[in-house]
Amino acid sequence: MMEKMIFGRFIPGNSLIHQMDPRAKISFVFVFIAIVFIANSAITYGILLGFTLLVVFLSKIRLYFLINGLKPVFILLIFTFLLHIFFTREGDLLVDIGFIKIYEEGLRQGIFISVRFLVLVFITSILTLTTSPISITDGIEVLLGPFKRVKLPVHELALMMSISLRFIPTLMDETGKILKAQMARGSDIGSGPVKDRIKAVVPLLIPLFVSAFKRAEDLATAMEVRGYRGGEGRTRYRQLNWRLIDSLSLVVLVGLAGILVYFRV
């Protein structure tokens, strides 16, 4: 199941979206999230959905892949949709089967919220799918740059992020190994009542923590030996490169906001 999940995964590629500067992409997503809330009618939500599909198309990530990977999210989506349908009691009554009563306004709200949700999930997924974690970290580091003035340890935060990302697969492997080792000793994690299952996780977590601390210590030594002394006086190997397309993307976004405001009811 984990293999299919696309949360936080990066699909290397060469599309227009892939080539964009991570700073632009991150700003884009944040502004987009704000813009989504302008929409309040069928037309505006339609425009949003169309725009999102255009972005997906430009990213050259197959829609099927995206939908398939976001399956767990759809469960949540359907849940909110049903919630809206059943609990909004405004407008005309559309369906009336015994205790189930669906009103027009409920249906409308349900669809709108679902579209809003869908659009947000798609756009943020496109961000993580087309940008390598390290670029995202770089982007965040630069975007947060101004906060250095108020003593926010931006460089350290970014380094922490990139190291955590770097160690996720390592720790996943390790978890797998510990799991097998404990299973070989007769521990049963997959069955029994919830209470037992939670208890069975403890012998999994403790070795994992111990080894994570050991790794952290080794890593700190290795970093120190390689001359790491904090952010000052450091140069960057990865250079970010703001191009015309990045500026254009933000202009397009402003245009989108304008259109949405115009069509807003």
Binding site: S132, R166, D218, A222, R226, G227, R234, T235, R236, Q239
Partner: protein, 282 residues
């Protein structure tokens, strides 16, 4: 050029000094290493090898005695300067990989030392070519084998163009193939650049390749000399808990059953050569 690149002078180091019952991890140790040498520091677990490594790069400072590197006394002030001239590769391939991809990791030490971007790109490529990992620029660490990760770690050290490379048990967690890769890389590097190498190991087969071996036991220097001289003292090594290379053990065993072999054999090839010419030479 015959200058001394690293020297220990009556160095003693004890973890937890206040506790009288704790023996020093390194006791009154003196040695010096010439520029361009390949030194192997061997010893059983707890012989003080790792402590020596930490003393060499200033992670620890000796309580008595002096550590000098690149002609400078190791101190808080000279520390970073000395570190920028030496590379170090550790035991666990995973725990020293800082960057998200191969090239980021190789660039890490360069970034720390404030090397300008254009220079970095050149040096990263060059260093990766030296360890034959140039095709893996964008690979992530979990897609590499142990041997490949260690080669990347070596490249990360080389990118700084160090005068000294310290390998702290760098091959001990690798499978035989990975170990061969790393040893071969070091050999070629030595041939190409004459880099000084200190390899800390308990693998005598690896140590056999060095110019000089220091055998450590319980924090003290037990033996020192050229590999064949050190290996000739066979039993002494075995008593220290070190395994002789297979070819040498074989030679010893053959002698015991009365086959008069000529020399000591550090590699299997040498032994095989003597064996198949054994009768014809008689």
């Amino acid at each position: 050029m015959n200058s001394i690149i690293m020297s220990f002078e009556n160095v003693t180091f004890t973890y937890m000094q206040e506790d009288e019952s704790v023996k020093p991890a390194v006791n009154d140790l003196s040695f010096s290493i010439q520029d361009g040498e390949w030194i192997a520091l061997v010893g059983h677990n707890g012989s003080g090898k790792s402590t020596i490594a930490k003393l060499m790069n200033g992670l620890l400072f000796p309580q008595t005695g002096k550590v000098e590197a690149m002609g400078k006394l190791m101190s808080e002030e000279s520390l970073w300067d000395i570190r920028s001239q030496m590379g170090m590769v550790f035991q666990n391939p995973d725990n020293q990989f800082v960057g998200a991809t191969v090239q980021d990791d190789v660039a890490f030490a360069l970034e720390n030392n404030g090397v300008p971007h254009e220079e970095m790109v050149v040096r990263v490529k060059e260093a990766l070519q030296q360890v034959k990992m140039a095709d893996y620029l964008d690979h992530e660490p979990h897609h590499l084998s142990g041997g490949q990760k260690q080669r990347v770690a070596i490249a990360g050290a080389l990118a700084l163009r160090p005068r000294l490379l310290i390998l702290d048990e760098a091959t001990s967690m690798l499978d035989p193939q990975g170990r061969m890769e790393v040893i071969e890389t070091i050999r070629e590097l030595r041939k190409a650049t004459g880099l000084t190498v200190i390899s800390i190991t308990h693998d005598l087969e690896e140590a056999a390749l060095a110019d000089r071996i220091l055998v450590m036991n319980a924090g003290e220097k037990q033996l020192e000399g050229k590999p064949d001289a050190v290996f000739r003292s066979g039993n002494e090594l075995t008593n220290l808990g070190l395994d002789l290379p297979f070819s040498m053990r074989m030679t010893h065993l053959l002698r015991e059953v009365g086959i008069e072999l000529q020399g000591e054999h550090m590699t299997e090839d040498e032994l095989v050569d003597e064996l198949w010419t054994f009768y014809s030479k008689k």
